[in-house]
């Protein structure tokens, strides 16, 4: 069996996917609340049962593209001047009500919907601490959102924006549109939420790092293909030699 070629093939496939993840990160360098993804590669051991000898000789390690994880570094907070924009400092996600159920997001660019509810840019209602939409009346003109998410107007308190956290943030499912699904986890209220009004959290992608990563991935890919080429040359020369001896 021709193990070296297959092993390097597993490496090439993984490398290809790594470049896709990097491309996706860079494409979303300007997406508010976006979290960069990183692939994890692991050794995959295939046992070769019948081969006798030292332990190292019995095992073949394939590169196994195991998972992606999300970089949970916060993105830079930029001021926008829109009084309904809210950026989260530290832990937590906003909860929005979508037709598919509750979804979680870090993108706090909110607006007032036509029905007077606080909504995200898709029109999904942003939920308050009791899991209800937050209503803003037409005569509430001076909207103030304090650090803990309490929304006030000149007519009094309108509600408090709910911030939730998860035991395993990595297990959240990215759905696109900057939304995450809980994937079976129970959201828990953040005990001490911190929010900033009139600002939005940007993407946590550092373009220069992604660029460097892409270059490194390209070189590693080329190295692996070179290895594959050498391997094929080695086999070719072995075949040539064997044929010559026979002739």
């Amino acid at each position: 069996m021709d193990s070296p070629s297959y092993i390097i093939l597993s490496r090439l496939t993984s490398q290809l996917r790594a470049s896709q993840v990097t491309a996706h990160n860079l494409a979303n360098a300007d997406t508010p609340g976006f979290r960069a993804a990183r692939p994890i590669f692991a050794e995959h051991l295939a046992r070769q049962g019948r081969v006798e000898g030292p332990r190292e000789g019995r095992e073949v390690a394939y590169a196994w593209d195991r998972a992606t994880w999300r970089d949970s570094q916060p993105g830079a907070i930029t001021r926008t001047g829109n009084p309904l924009d809210v950026a989260i400092q530290g832990d937590g996600f906003f909860t929005v009500e979508t037709p598919r159920g509750e979804r979680f997001t870090r993108a706090g660019r909110f607006a007032m919907g036509a029905n007077g509810q606080l909504v995200d840019h898709h029109g999904h209602a942003v939920l308050n601490a009791n899991g209800q939409p937050i209503a803003i009346a037409p005569n509430d003109t001076q909207i103030e959102i304090s650090g803990d998410g309490t929304i006030r107007s000149e007519n009094g308190i309108l509600g408090r924006i709910r911030l939730v956290r998860f035991d395993n943030e990595q297990a959240l499912q990215s759905e696109g549109d900057r939304l995450f699904a809980a994937a079976g986890q129970e959201p828990q209220e953040v005990p001490q939420p911190r929010m900033v009004q009139g600002a939005v959290e940007g993407s946590n992608v550092v373009s220069v790092l992604e660029m460097t990563r892409m270059m490194a991935e390209l070189r590693e890919f080329q190295m692996a293909t070179q290895f594959l080429e050498r391997e094929s040359e080695r086999q070719q020369s072995a075949i040539d030699r064997l044929l010559r001896r026979r002739a």
Binding site: L26, A111, T141, Q170, A171, S174
Partner: protein, 261 residues
């Protein structure tokens, strides 16, 4: 090669970004113009391995899955309704709104449009009209004999006539506010139309709760901040270049593959 397509979405997004920024810069001196910002969102993800799927016969569960995102798209182009600077013009029919609200303009089609551009003047018939000659609601007639016209903060048009001591009130300019200002649709010429997303216009005299006040002899300039726009332009250009580098890198990977013997 998915990364080629992913990087292409990135380039498209940055192109939109540059387009929006250039429109802002082009309208830097447009009266009442509100700057816009492109906003992006990530595209759907493909699950190569779902979170929580079993990783072995022993029933262990994958703590995190393998997902590949498919790029980015433009979610929306927002209008930022921050107040623009007020500029003195000394023209007695120029009006600026301090705070919330829009002037109501009667279009020849019968529709009502809304604007922050208060460059008004008198029509040949003596009615207050916009720069295009559309009547400002509710058509206020200023008598030709008027010596002086004062429009106060709450929109009352007061004219002084010869032989009268007290100024005469000839009309009341109203401003309109909306539940969701962002839902207004721009129709060019500084005019906006109401949509189901913006909600119905609520007209009232300036200075009423939720409505801003008027300033005579001033116009509101655009709220474009040149320095900020140029900075965003440079950032957008760099991001565009980096996405194009990803395309080059992916292409190089492909060509390495095709050279393989």
């Amino acid at each position: 090669m998915r990364s080629l397509h992913i990087a292409a979405t990135g380039m498209l997004a940055q192109q939109t970004n540059v387009e929006v920024i250039s429109n802002n810069l082009a309208n830097m001196n447009t009266t009442g113009y509100k700057r816009r910002r492109a906003e992006f969102q990530d595209l759907i993800y493909q699950n190569l391995r779902r979170v929580g799927s079993q990783s072995s016969d022993a029933g262990t569960v994958l703590p995190s899955g393998a997902q590949v995102g498919l790029g980015v798209r433009t979610a929306a182009i927002y209008r930022i309704s921050e107040q623009g600077n007020l500029q003195q013009t000394e023209n007695r029919f120029d009006l600026a709104i301090r705070g919330n609200g829009y002037f109501q303009v009667q279009l020849p089609t019968g529709e009502v449009a809304y604007t922050r551009d208060g460059t008004f003047s008198l029509s040949p018939e003596g009615v207050i009209v916009t720069a295009e000659g559309f009547v400002v609601n509710p058509g206020i007639n200023v008598p030709a004999a008027a010596r002086d016209v004062t429009i106060n903060a709450s929109g009352e048009v007061l004219v002084s006539l010869d032989g009268q001591v007290a100024p005469q009130n000839v009309g009341q300019i109203q401003t309109a506010i909306f539940a969701n200002e962002g839902g207004l649709v721009a129709m060019g010429d500084n005019l906006f139309l109401a949509t189901p997303a913006s909600g119905e216009a609520q007209a009232a005299a300036p200075g009423q709760p939720g409505h801003g006040t008027l300033m005579q002899g001033f116009i509101e300039t655009s709220n474009v901040n040149t320095v900020q726009e140029i900075t965003s332009l440079i950032t957008a250009q760099r991001a565009y270049e980096m996405n194009s580098r990803i395309i080059t890198a992916s292409d190089e990977m492909l060509s390495t593959l095709t050279r393989l013997r």
